[in-house]
Subunit: 356 residues, 2 copies
Amino acid sequence: MEKVTIRDIARLAGVSKSTVSLVINNSPRVDPETRGRVLAVITRHNYVPSATASALAKGRPPFISMIVPGLTWRLVAPLNYGVASVIERTPYEIILYTSTNDHDYAPVIDRMLASGLSAGVLVINQDQTMQPLLDLHAQGVPVVLINTLGSHFDLPSVEADNYEGAYGAVRHLLDLGHRRIASLAGPMTYPCCQDRQRGYQDALTEAGVPIDASLTQQSGFQPPTARELVRELLERADRPTAVFAHNDVTAYAAMDAAADRGLRVPEDLSVVGFDDIPSSAHVKPALTTVSQPFEAMGEHAARMLLAAISSESASSESASSESGEGSAPGGHGPPPARVHLPTTLIVRDSTGPAPS
Amino acid sequence: MEKVTIRDIARLAGVSKSTVSLVINNSPRVDPETRGRVLAVITRHNYVPSATASALAKGRPPFISMIVPGLTWRLVAPLNYGVASVIERTPYEIILYTSTNDHDYAPVIDRMLASGLSAGVLVINQDQTMQPLLDLHAQGVPVVLINTLGSHFDLPSVEADNYEGAYGAVRHLLDLGHRRIASLAGPMTYPCCQDRQRGYQDALTEAGVPIDASLTQQSGFQPPTARELVRELLERADRPTAVFAHNDVTAYAAMDAAADRGLRVPEDLSVVGFDDIPSSAHVKPALTTVSQPFEAMGEHAARMLLAAISSESASSESASSESGEGSAPGGHGPPPARVHLPTTLIVRDSTGPAPS
DNA sequence: CTGAAAGCGCTTACAG
DNA sequence: CTGAAAGCGCTTACAG
């Protein structure tokens, strides 16, 4: 069971190593007959080129790195599914870098850079400092962000359509007859929250419902805070009949607050969340929420990265021959792509007709 | 910003590449003074050896592979945390192989083997066919299983102490005064379920409670089945006052069944689960359950794998010089290690004193 | 269209 | 203790 190398294949096929290499790399300048013969030998012997050797010779690593901060683990399952489904059809493998420090992944990036193994990197970003990523990009390593916070960065990114998601959620509440709808907002420093809030307001405005600013409360995404805020809201004479929470865990808190006040969900209060984390199907009552398209985001991000990698290597090759165009790192090309993927409203048991 | 190589370091330190290499690999036969000088140059220039080059030269890949079948994604967050925390102190990186086919990861293994990138592999196994893994092992690639089902395989594995976990859960119920305790069992073909069932029975027996076989029902881990079974159980005149479910999702079903019958949890019925998946903290009432030590399992598995890798390379080196001892693949050494890690009972709101 | 040769960046006997 | 040389398995100009 000796390891079969390119030399063996060359000998068995009666050609040179060069030719085998050309066949492997799909060079067009190989005689079809020769190619067929080589291919036959390759498959017969189950030959697979050594990834390390070819990486070394090519000077280009066969890996895509995925950086996963601890905080984002809840999302990584479907995300990774999407990423894996596109990467598995390429010669790349996925290296997983887990960042144990949630706020700063500079150490992880150093390690990654040092190993020189990454053709490109996918990062699930939350609230981290971005500088290390920008540095990475500046060094010519393509980066794409899976942007859970919707922040604006000078890097290509994929994110959910937060505005549309929120709009749809509130539209759903309006359709059920609700007019007094509270917004339990996340940190408004996060662009995703700004977008969700705009969706909330626009849905209301379009339905002719005047905006009552006192109905928007800042939970900071903290469940205890959220619970307290909703409790206060429910004490008012003109209490809301529905709440739109900027994420699922604060939606749970809203339901807890209703229980605290002896109110039933959805009979007395409807609640809708955002994210659709796994628990939301199990909570009682099951939560109506906006599902983020994580799997699709993973797929899309992977495809963008692959494209960036090939254009990167193309541009660096042509850099000398052509007049230095293209979006080379450091260059001031077009702004990086930001793709927004549609969300889905998952209607479960926490929303119902407005009480009369 | 040219890539600095071993040649640069050698020149700058005034030594040969060989010497630099020896320093990098911590060879004892380098003059301390020389070593210091080389190290200084290395750090000053931020030099990090190319992983691919050294892999090629050494003939040993710098990666640990982790195979994650889709089904097991729920566990992978804490598991990976554990794995990452030990791997990050080694020169290895983690390659993530996601198996899209839940029942057969042969294709993934083929790919992994083909790339020749894995020094060892960690697999989270569920209900898959094991043959590909045994083949892998036979080819000399160390494998360790993170054994979620407790199956007996001819491979080293790490698993939760299912027996003790179940015993403790039932003990908790007994301490609360319960005597009629049902077991909502998973598939008894799974060793983990057999162990959980034994834990259940032994706790009962030790407490002097006779075993009533009609109180054990087979849910097959299917929530709808579980719900129906518990519903029937609760209809009986001598209905149980508590149920021990072999996993969390069927525990949720048991709570649903109680609601179906107008029974309150925990006042009328106590429920305890097994696993402690994230939802269990959010369910109403929050579920008392046995927490599997996933993070510790990941750490332990990673350490076992590292040990296997080094003894593997050691034994293949000494194979000619020594008399061929050691647990070489295919050899009939001692049976593979199976480590059981302790679980923790998480007491939340779904269990309470037995009704009088 | 194909082959001989040099090279990718390291490691490892082998001399000294 | 250190260096020169060959080699790991591939790729890529360069000839032909």
